[in-house]
Protein backbone atom coordinates (compact mmCIF):
# COMPACT_ATOMS: atom_id res chain seq x y z
CA UNK A 1 0.00 0.00 0.00
CA UNK A 2 1.37 3.40 -0.95
CA UNK A 3 1.72 5.94 1.80
CA UNK A 4 0.00 8.60 -0.31
CA UNK A 5 -3.53 7.28 0.21
CA UNK A 6 -6.23 8.56 -2.10
CA UNK A 7 -9.81 7.98 -0.91
CA UNK A 8 -11.09 7.87 -4.49
CA UNK A 9 -8.57 5.28 -5.63
CA UNK A 10 -10.56 2.18 -6.69
CA UNK A 11 -7.54 -0.05 -6.04
CA UNK A 12 -8.16 0.25 -2.29
CA UNK A 13 -11.76 -0.92 -1.82
CA UNK A 14 -13.49 -0.07 1.41
CA UNK A 15 -14.78 -2.77 3.71
CA UNK A 16 -18.31 -3.90 2.91
CA UNK A 17 -20.28 -5.61 5.65
CA UNK A 18 -22.09 -8.89 4.84
CA UNK A 19 -25.49 -8.54 3.15
CA UNK A 20 -28.67 -8.17 5.23
CA UNK A 21 -29.77 -11.65 4.11
CA UNK A 22 -26.51 -13.21 5.20
CA UNK A 23 -26.65 -11.50 8.61
CA UNK A 24 -30.28 -12.55 9.02
CA UNK A 25 -29.35 -16.17 8.27
CA UNK A 26 -26.52 -15.99 10.83
CA UNK A 27 -28.88 -14.47 13.41
CA UNK A 28 -31.41 -17.27 12.88
CA UNK A 29 -28.67 -19.88 13.20
CA UNK A 30 -27.38 -18.31 16.40
CA UNK A 31 -30.90 -18.33 17.80
CA UNK A 32 -31.09 -22.08 17.09
CA UNK A 33 -27.67 -22.64 18.68
CA UNK A 34 -28.75 -20.71 21.79
CA UNK A 35 -31.91 -22.84 22.07
CA UNK A 36 -29.69 -25.98 21.96
CA UNK A 37 -27.46 -24.42 24.63
CA UNK A 38 -30.47 -23.79 26.90
CA UNK A 39 -31.76 -27.30 26.26
CA UNK A 40 -28.39 -28.71 27.26
CA UNK A 41 -28.49 -26.67 30.50
CA UNK A 42 -32.14 -27.70 31.04
CA UNK A 43 -33.21 -24.05 30.97
CA UNK A 44 -36.12 -22.42 29.17
CA UNK A 45 -34.72 -20.20 26.40
CA UNK A 46 -37.76 -17.91 26.85
CA UNK A 47 -36.18 -16.78 30.11
CA UNK A 48 -33.55 -14.85 28.12
CA UNK A 49 -33.76 -11.66 26.13
CA UNK A 50 -31.33 -11.04 23.29
CA UNK A 51 -29.80 -7.79 22.10
CA UNK A 52 -29.76 -8.40 18.34
CA UNK A 53 -27.63 -5.33 17.60
CA UNK A 54 -24.78 -6.63 19.73
CA UNK A 55 -24.92 -9.99 17.98
CA UNK A 56 -24.89 -8.35 14.54
CA UNK A 57 -21.90 -6.28 15.61
CA UNK A 58 -20.15 -9.48 16.72
CA UNK A 59 -20.82 -11.06 13.29
CA UNK A 60 -19.46 -7.99 11.52
CA UNK A 61 -16.34 -7.91 13.71
CA UNK A 62 -15.67 -11.56 12.84
CA UNK A 63 -16.20 -10.81 9.15
CA UNK A 64 -13.77 -7.89 9.35
CA UNK A 65 -11.16 -10.17 10.87
CA UNK A 66 -11.72 -12.73 8.11
CA UNK A 67 -11.08 -10.00 5.56
CA UNK A 68 -7.93 -9.00 7.41
CA UNK A 69 -6.60 -12.55 7.07
CA UNK A 70 -7.57 -12.68 3.41
CA UNK A 71 -5.92 -9.35 2.58
CA UNK A 72 -2.80 -9.51 4.69
CA UNK A 73 -2.04 -13.23 4.76
CA UNK A 74 -2.15 -14.05 1.06
CA UNK A 75 -5.80 -15.09 0.81
CA UNK A 76 -5.70 -17.26 3.91
CA UNK A 77 -9.15 -18.36 5.06
CA UNK A 78 -9.98 -18.87 8.73
CA UNK A 79 -10.68 -22.42 9.83
CA UNK A 80 -13.71 -23.16 11.98
CA UNK A 81 -11.97 -23.23 15.41
CA UNK A 82 -10.42 -19.79 14.84
CA UNK A 83 -13.71 -18.35 13.61
CA UNK A 84 -15.51 -19.84 16.64
CA UNK A 85 -12.87 -18.35 18.96
CA UNK A 86 -13.24 -14.86 17.49
CA UNK A 87 -17.05 -15.05 17.64
CA UNK A 88 -16.88 -16.39 21.21
CA UNK A 89 -14.53 -13.52 22.11
CA UNK A 90 -16.96 -10.86 20.86
CA UNK A 91 -19.97 -12.54 22.47
CA UNK A 92 -18.15 -12.63 25.79
CA UNK A 93 -17.30 -8.92 25.41
CA UNK A 94 -20.67 -7.64 24.12
CA UNK A 95 -22.79 -9.94 26.32
CA UNK A 96 -25.89 -9.94 24.09
CA UNK A 97 -27.90 -12.38 26.22
CA UNK A 98 -29.65 -11.14 29.35
CA UNK A 99 -31.50 -13.43 31.69
CA UNK A 100 -34.78 -12.15 33.02
CA UNK A 101 -34.16 -13.78 36.38
CA UNK A 102 -31.33 -13.60 38.89
CA UNK A 103 -28.79 -10.79 38.98
CA UNK A 104 -26.05 -9.40 36.76
CA UNK A 105 -23.68 -12.17 37.80
CA UNK A 106 -25.80 -14.73 35.98
CA UNK A 107 -26.13 -12.55 32.89
CA UNK A 108 -22.35 -12.35 32.65
CA UNK A 109 -21.95 -16.02 33.30
CA UNK A 110 -24.42 -17.20 30.64
CA UNK A 111 -22.75 -15.17 27.92
CA UNK A 112 -19.37 -16.60 28.79
CA UNK A 113 -20.71 -20.11 29.19
CA UNK A 114 -22.35 -19.79 25.77
CA UNK A 115 -18.97 -18.69 24.33
CA UNK A 116 -17.39 -21.80 25.80
CA UNK A 117 -20.25 -23.90 24.39
CA UNK A 118 -19.55 -22.53 20.88
CA UNK A 119 -15.86 -23.37 21.23
CA UNK A 120 -16.58 -26.86 22.57
CA UNK A 121 -19.05 -27.72 19.79
CA UNK A 122 -16.81 -26.44 17.02
CA UNK A 123 -13.62 -28.11 18.29
CA UNK A 124 -15.43 -31.47 18.61
CA UNK A 125 -17.07 -31.18 15.16
CA UNK A 126 -13.87 -30.01 13.49
CA UNK A 127 -11.91 -32.94 14.91
CA UNK A 128 -14.70 -35.27 13.83
CA UNK A 129 -14.63 -33.98 10.22
CA UNK A 130 -10.85 -34.33 10.10
CA UNK A 131 -11.08 -37.85 11.57
CA UNK A 132 -8.95 -36.92 14.57
CA UNK A 133 -9.38 -38.70 17.91
CA UNK A 134 -12.00 -37.23 20.21
CA UNK A 135 -10.55 -34.66 22.60
CA UNK A 136 -11.57 -35.31 26.18
CA UNK A 137 -11.43 -32.17 28.30
CA UNK A 138 -11.74 -32.47 32.06
CA UNK A 139 -14.10 -30.29 34.05
CA UNK A 140 -11.09 -28.43 35.48
CA UNK A 141 -9.82 -27.56 32.00
CA UNK A 142 -13.28 -26.27 31.09
CA UNK A 143 -13.34 -24.25 34.31
CA UNK A 144 -9.94 -22.74 33.43
CA UNK A 145 -11.14 -21.92 29.93
CA UNK A 146 -14.25 -20.27 31.34
CA UNK A 147 -12.11 -18.28 33.77
CA UNK A 148 -9.87 -17.19 30.88
CA UNK A 149 -12.84 -16.05 28.81
CA UNK A 150 -14.31 -14.26 31.80
CA UNK A 151 -11.35 -12.61 33.47
CA UNK A 152 -8.10 -12.67 31.58
CA UNK A 153 -6.86 -9.91 29.28
CA UNK A 154 -6.91 -11.84 26.05
CA UNK A 155 -7.32 -10.57 22.52
CA UNK A 156 -9.29 -12.38 19.83
CA UNK A 157 -6.02 -13.49 18.27
CA UNK A 158 -4.97 -15.06 21.60
CA UNK A 159 -8.31 -16.85 21.74
CA UNK A 160 -7.94 -18.03 18.13
CA UNK A 161 -4.49 -19.44 18.88
CA UNK A 162 -5.72 -21.17 22.04
CA UNK A 163 -8.77 -22.77 20.38
CA UNK A 164 -6.84 -23.72 17.24
CA UNK A 165 -4.29 -25.48 19.47
CA UNK A 166 -7.09 -27.38 21.21
CA UNK A 167 -8.51 -28.39 17.83
CA UNK A 168 -5.19 -29.77 16.61
CA UNK A 169 -3.69 -31.31 19.74
CA UNK A 170 -3.05 -35.02 19.36
CA UNK A 171 -3.70 -37.18 22.39
CA UNK A 172 -1.39 -40.10 22.88
CA UNK A 173 -3.12 -43.25 24.05
CA UNK A 174 -2.08 -44.34 27.56
Amino acid sequence: MKDSYNHNDKRYPRYEAPSDESLLESLNSLQGIFVSFCKMLKLDSELFSVDGERIIEAFIRVDQRKLHYKMYHNGTKLNEPKEAAILAYWISRFKPFTCKFGDCYYTRKYNELFSLFLIDIVVASYRNIRKMPKLILTKNIRRDLLYTIENRSTTFDDMALMVDSLAHVMVKAA
Binding site: S29, I33, Y69, E80, S125, R143
Partner: protein, 67 residues
Protein backbone atom coordinates in the same frame (compact mmCIF):
# COMPACT_ATOMS: atom_id res chain seq x y z
CA UNK B 1 35.79 1.38 -5.16
CA UNK B 2 34.20 4.55 -6.38
CA UNK B 3 31.15 6.05 -4.73
CA UNK B 4 28.77 5.04 -7.57
CA UNK B 5 29.72 1.35 -7.13
CA UNK B 6 29.28 1.64 -3.35
CA UNK B 7 25.84 3.07 -3.89
CA UNK B 8 25.02 0.17 -6.26
CA UNK B 9 25.99 -2.45 -3.64
CA UNK B 10 23.98 -0.69 -0.99
CA UNK B 11 20.98 -0.53 -3.30
CA UNK B 12 21.27 -4.25 -4.12
CA UNK B 13 21.43 -5.23 -0.47
CA UNK B 14 18.47 -3.00 0.36
CA UNK B 15 16.40 -4.57 -2.43
CA UNK B 16 17.34 -8.06 -1.17
CA UNK B 17 16.35 -6.99 2.32
CA UNK B 18 12.97 -5.73 1.06
CA UNK B 19 12.37 -8.96 -0.87
CA UNK B 20 13.25 -11.12 2.16
CA UNK B 21 10.80 -9.23 4.39
CA UNK B 22 8.04 -9.37 1.73
CA UNK B 23 8.55 -13.14 1.34
CA UNK B 24 8.40 -13.64 5.10
CA UNK B 25 5.19 -11.64 5.46
CA UNK B 26 3.45 -13.42 2.59
CA UNK B 27 3.74 -16.86 4.17
CA UNK B 28 0.61 -18.97 3.70
CA UNK B 29 1.49 -21.52 6.36
CA UNK B 30 -0.68 -19.80 8.94
CA UNK B 31 -3.89 -21.69 8.48
CA UNK B 32 -5.30 -24.68 6.70
CA UNK B 33 -8.70 -23.16 5.89
CA UNK B 34 -12.20 -24.39 6.63
CA UNK B 35 -13.00 -28.12 6.76
CA UNK B 36 -16.80 -27.98 6.44
CA UNK B 37 -18.45 -28.87 3.11
CA UNK B 38 -18.20 -26.27 0.34
CA UNK B 39 -21.04 -23.78 0.40
CA UNK B 40 -21.99 -24.34 4.03
CA UNK B 41 -21.78 -21.22 6.17
CA UNK B 42 -19.95 -21.26 9.48
CA UNK B 43 -23.11 -20.57 11.48
CA UNK B 44 -25.11 -23.36 9.83
CA UNK B 45 -22.15 -25.68 10.48
CA UNK B 46 -22.33 -24.84 14.20
CA UNK B 47 -26.12 -25.13 14.22
CA UNK B 48 -25.97 -28.59 12.61
CA UNK B 49 -23.64 -29.73 15.37
CA UNK B 50 -25.21 -27.89 18.28
CA UNK B 51 -27.07 -30.96 19.52
CA UNK B 52 -24.16 -33.37 19.31
CA UNK B 53 -22.73 -32.70 22.76
CA UNK B 54 -22.32 -35.89 24.79
CA UNK B 55 -23.87 -36.33 28.24
CA UNK B 56 -20.57 -36.11 30.10
CA UNK B 57 -19.72 -32.73 28.55
CA UNK B 58 -23.26 -31.48 29.15
CA UNK B 59 -22.91 -32.47 32.81
CA UNK B 60 -19.67 -30.47 33.02
CA UNK B 61 -21.46 -27.43 31.63
CA UNK B 62 -24.31 -27.80 34.12
CA UNK B 63 -21.76 -28.04 36.93
CA UNK B 64 -19.98 -24.92 35.68
CA UNK B 65 -23.28 -23.08 35.62
CA UNK B 66 -23.85 -23.92 39.26
CA UNK B 67 -20.29 -23.12 40.42
Amino acid sequence: MNSTAEKGILLDSKIQMIQRVKARLSSTALDNGPSRPDGQTFMSFVLDNANTMDDETANDFRALMED
